[in-house]
Structure formats: C-alpha cells, structure tokens
C-alpha cells in the first residue's frame, strides 16, 4: 500500500514524524523546566502497577487497530507484488501488436489470459525494436517471446493439465531476464534443450506429477505434439505464476505452426525486478517512435500490476481503517474516561495543590507528563500488537484465498509501523491534553472535600453559545446536504440542530431529564426511521460509507442520553423483574444503583459498548444478508450447471456436434448447451462529453444462451418489463446489448474496489427504476472495426464475474469479426439426475486437446461464498476488537470503584452483606453496564440493518435480499466480550469482597 484515503504514505509519515517531534520537544522542554512537576506527574506510574497496565491497555487500542489495518494492506500489496514478480520476473514492458490485449492483464488473482485473440507478428520486427532500444542505457534486456495457453498430458504419470502456459524465447536474448534454475540443481538454459525436449516449471510439475524424463503430449492448434521433460525448473518471468512449459523460440514456432512469428517482445528495464519498473515511462517514450510505424505498442505491464497491488493494499487498509473507526472512537472515549477517573481519584490532592498555589497549567502539565509516558509505551505496544493482529487476520485470509490459488505473503513495512505508531501516539496525546485541560477545571473547595463539582449553571452564556452554534452548524450542513444531495451532510445537519436543542432547552429551564431525553429520542428516531419516510419531499440523495459511521455515533449518543437520563425507570423495571428473587434483591439494588447514579462514567462505557456492538451487528447482519443474496445458484449460474472454457488457439467450433461425436460423453446428459465468445474492445457512450474509448470486454451470446439463461436485471430500459423480454430482444435484434452494473453510476457508494475499469456510463443511476435505452459505440483498436450497440438492460449486482462486460448476440460479433469471435466459453445445463462434477471431469477429458477447463458453477459459487464468509468472520473479529475498549473501561471503573467505595463496602458488610454478595454486586454492576451496552447497540444495529435491507429489497438489483441475523456469530462475540468484562471485574470485585469491615469503616 502506498496511500491512505488518497494521501501518500510517505507524506503521512513525514507529517506525523514532524508532529511527533514537535510534541516531544515541547513536552521535554516543559519537563526540563518543571522537574518537580515531572516528578509529581510520573510518581503514580510505578505505584499502581495494575492500574498502569489497564491504562496502557486502554490507550493502545487505537494504535492496534490502525497498525492492524496497515498490516493487512501491506500484506495484500506484497501478495500481489509477489505474484507479479513470479509472473513477470524482470519483464517490465510487453510489446504486442497495437490494439491487442497483451494477454497479461492482472485481475487480482493472477495473470489472466486476455479475452482477445492475440495476433502474431513478424519476428524480424524484433530486430528493428532491438536496434532502437537494445543498446539504450534504459534497458538491460529485450527478447522475442511466444506465450500461449496449451493443454498438456503427461503420458508417464497419466495426469492432465488443461491450461498451461507455453513460454518460448530466444535463449541468447534471455540474459537480462533472470536465470532458469533446475530444481535441486544449477542454472540451465533454453539452449540446452535438445529436439523434442522441454522444461517444466515446478507448478506444472506438481499439477502433472511430472519429473525429468516424463513424456508429454502438448495440444496446440488442433494437433498434439510429443515432448520430453528435460528438467523441472524454477523461473520467474514466464508470464504466468502457474503451470508453464519452457521452450526455445524456434521449437515453439514449429510446435505452434508459427514459423517466423512471435507474439510479444519483452523488455527488462535497467535495475532489479522491482526497481526497474520506475523507468517504464521513459522506456515507453523511447520506444514509441519505433513502435508506432510498426503498428506495435508497449504495455507497462509491471507498473500496471504493481499499481494494482498498491491499489488493492490501499483498499484493504482504507476498509479496515474505516471499519475500525468505531473502535478508534470508542478508544478515544476510553482514554478520556481513564483520565477523568484518574483525576477523580486525585481530586483532593489536586484541590490541595491548587489551594497552596499550584496553577491550572501546572496540573495540566502533571497530567500531560504522566499521559505522555503511558502514551509512548501504549503506542509502541499497540503498533507491535497491531502487527500480531494483522498476522492473525492474514493467516485466516490466506486460507480463504487458497480457493483462488492466491498465496498470501505476509508483510509489514517500516513506514507503516512508523505511521501507525506516530498516528496512535498523536491521537492519544490530543485526547490526553484535552482530558488534562478538562480535569484542571476543578472547583478547589469541592475538590479538597472530595465532593462533586458544582453543576454548570444552566442559563450560562456558554450554554447559549453552544446551543446557537449547534443550530447554526446544523442548518448549514442541512443546506449543503440538500443542495449537493449528499445524505451524510443532510442527516448530520438535522442531527446538529437536535444536539443544539439540548443546551437551549436547559437554558429555557427544562429539567435535565427532558432536555436530554427529548433530543435523545429525536436523534434515535431521526436516524432509524425507514429510509423512504421522507422520499416524497426529499431529493434522491447520494450516500457512502460515512453515513454508516455518522449514524452509529449519532444513534448511540441519542440512545445513551435517553437511557442515562431515565435511569430511574430502568432501575424500577429491573427491580420489578428481578427484585422478586429475594436473595438477589439487595445485591441487585446496589449493583444497578451505582452505575445509574454515576451517569458520566456509565454513559461513556455504555456508549463504548453500544458503538462497537452497533457496528458489529450492522456489519454482521448486512454481510450475512449479502452473502445469502449472492449465494444464489440461479443468480450465479444463470440456469446453467457447468461453465467451461477452451484455449483460443484451439476452440471448439460446434460444441453440440463435438459432444455428439465424443465417445465419452452422452448427449442426453445435456439439456442445454450454450456458448459465448469474448473480445477485448473499446467502448464509449454516445454523447458523453470528454470521455474517450475505454477497453472493456464485449461478449457474444449465442441463441441458446439468450433463450435459456435466467440472469435478471437491476435496470431494464423503458418498454421492457421482464428479463425474458430483454433476452428475447437481444436474440431478435443484433444491435441490442446489456451490460454488467460496474460501469453504471450509483447513488449509494458503499463499495471498496480496486482495479475499477475506466469504462463508465452516465445519465442514469443503478438505483433508478428504469432508463432510456442508451447508445454506445464500440471500436476494435486493432482493425478499427466500428459499430454501435443499444444498451437495454443492466445485470443485477449478483452477476458472476464471467458475465462482466457488454453482452450482445453472437451473431452481431460474428458479423463484425468473423473468425475472431469464436466461442471459447460454453455453458451446460444438465439433464435431471446427471452428476455435475463427473460431467465436468468428463468434459475436460473429452476436450483436453482444446484445453477445456470445466467447473461446476455450484462449486464455484460455494468457493466464492466460502471466501466471502471467511472474510466476514475476519471483519467481525476485527471490529470485535473494539469491544476490548469497553472491557478495559469496565476494568478501570471497577478498580476505581473499589477504592472509592471502600467505606461503603464496610457499611454493606456491617449490615449483613456477605463477601460473596459484595463480589456479586460488583460483577452484576459490570454485567449491567456491559449488557446494557450490548443490548442497546444490538437493538439499534438491528433496526438500522433492517432499514438498509428493506431499502435494498426495494431496489431491483438486490430485491431478493433478506433480513437474517447471524445470531450465532454475534452471540459468540458478545459472550466473549461479556466474559472478558466479568473477568476484568473479577479481580477488583474479589479485592472488594476481601475488605475487612472494620478496616473499611476506618478508611477516610
């Protein structure tokens, strides 16, 4: 990853380091000037070790979350980077015929065969290019290459590999592209291969269970060629990270019947495999004058792939940082709570200090010195623990991604560590400073007597200013939201108006209960009303993930106020229900009365729990609902059971006839056999201003596919009422097409995507009910073939990856491109009772020479959903980390309560509370707070999730989404959090129960 929310990590690192240096210089200077204050500030740290541990734990949570997010981002970047290097080695640019896809596009799962038929060109052109740049200081290698997917059979081991990459080059030119090393041996060369000999890379050897000396049959161009494995090798740069056969160029030309032709020229820039990429722009610029007249073009393949790696890393980091925001906010609340409670503990001491002449700034400094020490240690431990969390998350991810053949490569960059540490430290420092300032505002008399501070005068000027400010900000945000049609601003604006009412209502003389409860309820209702409540007067807002974060914070504020200012009702309700159990009544009474009386600390802790639980419930419920939505075989498979692809150099022209002729397949097993061709063309919406043609796949669907598929649409153009009508229209009119939803603009931007295509449509939104049919121009960059299509449908979001692109009828593509639009993808609906897996295997065997790879769509879906579910677990676990904040808060509160209530514990013991009862009372107190927070967060989260899912079900693209709460996951997470809360409270509770009454009563 190289940036966070678009800001380069290098910039962040410099800014944070400078800020860190400034902060530390100021604090050090203050400490040196006031050594006594430093001494006073630091003396508490070693005194109460247990407390110090809890404080450090509380302070480090924000840093853990940030570091963990960075760790996953770095790992994802490194994973892709590693795949890139395996595939490309030292290759930086790939030169091909202009307009053709290079065949080396990176899709995040590895290098894929481009959907375009790759054109070969005269080998003599290599000489021209070599002459132009071969001696340049910019490059250290240039070589002619053939790279072609072929099917291979190992006749010795009797294993097949339907898709291996045949990589061939001139051994004399490969010097700058790294060494080919024999597994367990030394360096070898393509020049060492005798006639009929080939090297297998280790991946291919694994797949084929092959070893040196094995006989192979390579199927290419409709013929099978016998070859013998000379050795199993490791080579980075064979244009694939998977199975590959390595041949000399002339041997490959003969094998493929491409005498005198090559497919690519590969270029290695000066420098190493990674560092060379930075010269790509210069190399391409230098090549352009030579390539253009030759109708060739250079693709900065490695730079593009590395950019994708960074982009994906950035997406992961942003994703986890955003979803960690709630935990970070909760962490900030915890830091504030910790310092306010530390201050409460030292109140008489501070009052005395003030009375004898200590200034407020001295108190601030004392807290600051203490806080900075905690902060420095906590951020350091937090950053390291964040690494451990990231490591754990990535380990789980690695399992999930194995389905897609992705090997996760752990990584954490020093830069990320520095940014996580400094950011965590600075964030904590700010909160510590604000807390220190807040605690310095003590009333000297009440502090000395350890009495509560006098209540802020309700009618004071500050109250009025706060209220008016709230209203003004609110009105302004509402206005911005309405005019820009941005939901977050609008919702936040109204919320600020509601928040501003609190001080104003208090100033008007309303009792606190009413002044907080009414706006509190209003805030909750405002955010949790069904989304379409005000549709009749409000514009169609756009919204993004920020709405989720603000909604969480606002509903939790509203709900916490409401509960805390009506605690007596809650207490009565609890006593009415549980107070009937006589043994429990006295314990329960004190257990609930204490937290409900200490509104600030209880409110803060409840809010911490609620906030994290709220987000967990929303995320878990939504991801569960979406996983179930996508786990729809019909929506994924479109009514087909098997999808099979063949290699381009040996496609199956007539699949029906091929099945009929096959001796191993039975035509009766196949109910429907449909085919699809795909080409990488360029598209542009007609009438779009300032937009250029952009590369996008165009698919040709044969009549069988059009007549039998069951894919549905998020949007259908005016005049079309059902998916069948749309598909029929495509069959009837070759000028019509449909498109996947990715290029379509959305009002709701909740996605995190890397590698989004440049091709975009405009003028309508996916959330609309319909749209006017829109024209797009299609151009083939290779042949300049040009035609127009009319888009009449947009597939639902549940569309499978293999339907990505603009889909029209096969007849349209055949008419335009004749042989180039050969179907290479086949879909099979099987007769009832036919074994899908066995048939897929049989198809692969029957069409091995065509390099057929057949997959049961249900299995493919299962793998995809399985990965999604694992990812959901990781996300839930990551967000669940925030619950540690609540647990730590309870630990701090309990520890403080034991000290604070020592004498009261003595009284309780003297009037008959047994040890167990005192202990139970503390545990119940923590339970009450934890369960109140968990309950509140769950209810609020469930309501919001219900609204989101209801809203989704009203949109065609996600109309089948259903509200289903993953109770099991949530229960497990909550039980762990609750158990941890009890555990954290157990020690202080035990300590409280051990207090001897006489001793406690003597305590003043």
């Amino acid at each position: 990853m190289d940036s966070l929310f678009g800001i380069p990590m290098d910039t962040l690192m410099v800014v944070f380091l400078v800020a860190f240096a400034i902060v530390m210089s100021v604090v050090t200077a203050l400490a040196l000037r006031n050594r006594v204050l430093l001494k006073l500030g630091l003396r508490s740290i070693p005194r109460r070790r247990g407390r110090t541990v809890i404080i450090v734990l509380g302070l480090m949570l924000g840093t853990i979350i940030i570091a963990a997010a960075f760790g996953t981002g770095d790992t994802m970047t490194n994973t892709i980077r590693s795949s890139v290097l395996t595939s490309l080695g030292n290759i930086d640019e790939v030169i091909s015929i202009r307009g053709t896809d290079t065949g080396t596009d990176f899709d995040g799962h590895g290098f894929i065969e481009g959907p375009e038929d790759i054109a070969y060109f005269d080998e003599a052109l290599f000489g021209v290019v070599d002459e132009a740049i071969g001696d340049s200081e910019l490059v250290d290698g240039i070589a002619p290459v053939i790279s072609e997917p072929v099917a291979v059979q190992d006749t010795t081991s009797r294993q097949n590999e339907p898709r291996a990459t045949l990589f061939a080059s001139d051994p004399a030119r490969l010097a700058g592209f790294g060494e080919i090393k024999e597994v367990g041996g030394g360096t070898v060369s393509l020049a060492d291969l005798g006639p009929g000999e080939v090297y297998l890379n280790d991946e291919a050897a694994d797949e084929l269970n092959a070893s040196a000396g094995d006989e192979l049959l390579v199927f290419a161009g409709g013929q099978s060629v016998p070859l013998q494995v000379k050795a199993v090798v490791k080579y980075r740069g064979s244009l694939t990270e998977e199975s590959a056969l390595l041949l000399s160029l002339d041997a490959a030309q003969r094998l493929l019947d491409k005498e005198g032709l090559i497919k690519h020229i590969v270029v290695s820039n000066r420098g190493g495999a990674l560092s060379g990429a930075k010269h790509s722009d210069e190399v391409i610029e230098a090549l352009e004058p030579t390539l253009t007249p030759l109708n060739l073009e250079a693709d900065p393949t490695k730079v593009d792939a590395l950019d994708f790696a960074n982009e994906l890393g950035n997406v992961f980091t942003s994703f986890f940082v955003i979803f960690g925001t709630f935990s970070i906010v909760a962490g900030i609340m915890l830091i504030f709570l910790i310092f306010v409670m530390l201050a409460a503990e030292r109140k008489p001491e501070m009052g005395m200090a003030r009375a004898v002449g200590t200034k407020r700034r001295h108190l601030i400094q004392m807290f600051l010195f203490e806080g900075v020490v905690y902060d420095l240690v906590a951020a350091a431990i937090g950053a390291l623990l964040g690494l451990a969390v990231a490591y754990g998350m990535v380990l789980i991810m690695a399992k999930a991604f194995t389905n897609f053949g992705v090997d996760i490569e752990q990584d954490f960059r020093l830069r990320s560590l520095i940014v996580a540490y400094t950011l965590g430290m600075l964030l904590t420092f700010i909160v510590v400073t604000v807390s220190a300032w807040r605690v310095s505002l003590l009333n000297i008399v009440s502090a000395i007597r350890d009495l509560p501070d006098p209540v802020l005068r309700k009618g004071g000027r500050l109250t009025l200013i706060l209220g008016v400010l709230g209203l003004l900000i609110g009105v302004l945000l509402t206005f911005i939201g309405l005019s820009a049609e941005v939901m977050t601003f609008f919702m936040l604006g109204i919320s600020f108006v509601i928040l501003g009412l609190v001080p104003l209502l208090r100033r008007l003389g309303l009792p606190d209960r009413a002044a907080y409860t009414l706006p509190g309820i209003a805030l909750v209702v405002w955010w949790l009303l069904p989304f379409d409540t005000f549709d009749f007067i409000l514009p169609d807002f756009s919204q993004d993930i920020s709405i989720f974060i603000t909604s969480g914070i606002m509903v939790v504020i509203g709900a916490t106020w409401t509960v805390m200012y009506n605690s007596d009702l809650l207490l009565r309700a609890i006593m009415a229900v549980f107070g009937r159990v006589r043994a429990l009544a006295p314990v329960l009474k004190t257990a609930v009365a204490y937290p409900l009386t200490n509104r600030f600390r209880t409110g803060m802790t409840v809010a911490m729990f609620s906030l994290v639980v709220f987000t967990l419930v929303v995320m878990a419920t939504l991801t569960n609902a979406f996983s179930q939505l996508f786990n729809d075989e019909e929506a994924f498979g479109g009514g087909f059971d098997i999808r099979a692809t063949t290699v381009r150099i040996n496609p199956i022209g007539d699949i029906d006839a091929a099945i009929e002729q096959s001796t191993t397949l039975s035509a009766e097993d196949f109910q429907v056999v449909a085919s699809q061709s795909s080409l990488s063309l360029q598209a542009r919406q007609v009438g779009s201003v300032g937009k250029e043609f952009e590369t996008y796949p165009v698919r040709g669907l044969d009549d069988e596919f059009l007549a039998n598929n069951t894919y549905e649409f998020a949007l259908m153009a005016e005049g079309y009422d059902s998916p069948q009508e749309v598909w029929q229209a495509l069959a009837d009119d070759p000028g019509l097409a449909i498109v996947d939803p990715i290029p379509v603009p959305r009002r709701d931007q909740f996605g995190f995507q890397a590698g989004v295509p440049d091709f975009e449509l405009e003028g309508f939104f996916l959330e609309d009910e319909t749209f006017s049919p829109l024209e797009i121009d299609i151009e083939d960059p290779q042949t300049r073939t040009f035609f127009s299509l009319t888009i009449i449908g947009v597939l639902k979001d549940t569309f499978p990856e293999f339907m990505l692109g603009i889909s029209t009828s096969q007849r349209k593509l055949e008419a335009a491109f004749v042989d180039r639009a050969q179907p290479t993808v086949h879909f099979f609906r099987l007769a009832d009772g036919t074994d899908v897996a066995a048939t897929a295997d049989a198809l692969e065997s029957a069409f091995l020479t065509n390099g057929m790879e057949a997959d049961a769509l249900a299995e493919e879906l299962k793998d995809a959903v399985g990965t999604q579910i694992t990812f959901n677990y990781i996300l839930q676990g990551f967000m669940g980390l925030g619950l540690v904040v609540g647990v730590a808060a309870l630990g701090v509160i309990s520890a403080r309560s034991v000290v604070e209530r020592r004498q009261q514990i003595g009284v309780l013991r003297s009037i008959g509370f047994k040890r167990g009862m005192v202990q139970l009372s503390f545990l119940l107190e923590s339970s009450f707070i934890a369960l109140l927070g968990i309950g509140l967060g769950s209810i609020l989260g469930l309501i919001l999730s219900f609204n989101i899912i209801r809203d989704g079900s009203q949109q065609a693209s996600t109309e089948n989404i259903e509200f289903a709460v993953p109770w099991l996951n949530l229960t497990v997470i909550f039980l762990i959090a609750y158990g941890a809360s009890l555990l954290t409270t157990y020690l202080p509770a035990r300590q409280a129960s051990r207090v001897y009454p006489a001793e406690a009563l003597r305590y003043e």
Binding site: A585, P586, S910
Partner: protein, 262 residues
C-alpha cells in the same frame, strides 16, 4: 417525667439484672502495620446486659472503636474471647457473623455511612432485603422506621439532599429497622452540632427505653455518655473505669457490677 428520670427509676436495676448479651474476656487486639505494632486492646474484659445503654469513652486512640468493632464481630481479635448471645464469635465463620449482624445487630456511624446512590428509604430497607424479607414488606417496614425518626416525608430523598442530623436519623432508622438485639454506635453524634446531637440522643434513649434494645455507644462527649446508664472509660487499650448511674438527677454514678470503684 423525662426519659432520663424514667431510666433512673426503672431501667438501671432492670438492665443490671437482665441476662448478659455481650461478654468479652481478656480481649487482645494488635495492629501490625509492618513498621510498628500498636496494641489497641490489652486484655479487655467486659459484660453488657440485655437492654443496657452503655457508653464507651476515652481519648483518641484509646481503643474504644476497636473494642466496638471486636465486640460486634466487625473485626477479629488476637486472643481472648468474645461471645454475643452466648455464642463465641471465634467459632463463627465470616458468613455466620455477617448473617448474625444482619439479623441481630444495627450500626450507627459517625459519618452516617449511607449509600449515596440509594434514597433514604432504600438505605433503610437494605438490611431487611439482606435478611430475605420480601421487597414489599421491606419497604413497608423501612417507611415505618423512617416514621419513627420523623423522616417519613424525606423517604425518597438521597443522602446528599439531607442535612447531617437527618442523615444520622436515617442511619438510626436503618440500624433499627430489623429490630436488632444490639445497636452499636460509633460516635453517633460526633459529626453533629449540639442541637442535633441532643435530638439524636433523645431518639436513641427513647428507643432504648421503649424497645429495650441494647445500645453500645462509643463517644468522646461526656454529655452524650451521661445520658446512657453506664459509662466505660478506656485508656491505652484498657478499661480504666466502669460506672453505672445510680441517681441521674443527683448525678450519682457507682461502680458497675464486678468493676473496680473509680
């Protein structure tokens, strides 16, 4: 006729004849702070009869609060023997002692020691709830107890909303609500002005008179002690005198049964 006059005529002889409820024999209690050892009680022996109202007096640090704590089972003794109602406290487990306190004892402390988070009535009903009385009955009896101390109308107020005297009356209501056999008071008027202190003593004396409960009060105030029927003086962890009132009007006190004359 004042309460004191009635006590002078009736209570004293009766109390003295009543069976002993608290007996301490050669009680020793030492506090070890690690650096120094403080001998708080040095072989204290005492017998208190049922229905007696006893004041324990002495200068600060003489061991009077420690004696009260040891007699009531709030603290453990190092040696000697304390029995309450004929039961040796050392044979009781911590839970047994706690249960015993809940059912048979009431406490009034100098600083009230009410739970600030509970209302007056909730504070008073707490010992009843601990003893397993139903919530409804506990509330009823708590209100009656508050009525007895003339605070019925302040039942729903929290301690912070009450004056010092009112808080102490709530404490007394809490101490008496479960009709304990013994009420312990540690400087019950120590934090009050003289008017409030007088009112509280009126209340305690009246309750002692009417309900015949045993009151053991630790105090350093002579005017408080003189309103009880027996004054035990302590110094340096030992009892130095033990006198019972003979004629309150005349201010005549004589050595208590078994005590050395002053």
């Amino acid at each position: 006729m004042t309460v004191e006059q009635e006590r002078m005529d009736d209570a004293t002889p009766e109390s003295a004849d009543a069976p002993p409820i608290i007996q301490a024999l050669d009680v020793v209690k030492t506090y070890d702070t690690g650096k120094v050892k403080v001998e708080a009680l040095r072989g204290v022996s005492i017998t208190i009869h049922q229905g007696e109202m006893v004041a324990i007096m002495g200068p600060s640090g003489c061991g009077k609060t420690t004696l009260l704590n040891c007699l009531s089972g709030l603290d453990v003794i190092d040696s000697g023997r304390v029995s309450v109602d004929g039961v040796d406290l050392s044979t009781m487990s911590d839970n047994d002692k706690t249960e015993y306190r809940a059912q048979r004892m009431g406490f009034v402390f100098q600083f009230y020691n009410l739970l600030p988070v509970l209302s007056a009535v909730e504070n008073v009903e707490l010992p009843l709830l601990v003893s397993g009385v139903s919530a409804r009955e506990a509330r009823q009896r708590a209100l009656q107890a508050l009525d007895q101390v003339h605070l019925r109308d302040w039942a729903e107020h929290t301690p912070a909303e009450l004056s010092g005297g009112e808080r102490q009356r709530v404490t007394i209501a809490r101490a008496l609500v479960n009709s304990p056999a013994i009420v312990w008071g540690d400087e019950p008027t120590g934090d009050l002005d003289s008017t409030n202190a007088g009112e509280i003593m009126d209340l305690l004396c009246d309750l002692n008179e009417r309900q015949r409960q045993t009151f053991v009060l630790v105090t350093h105030a002579l005017e408080v002690a003189e309103r009880t029927g027996r004054i035990i003086r302590m110094q340096d962890g030992q009892i130095i005198s033990d006198n019972r009132i003979i004629n309150r009007e005349a201010g005549i006190w004589g050595p208590a049964e078994g005590a050395e004359p002053e």
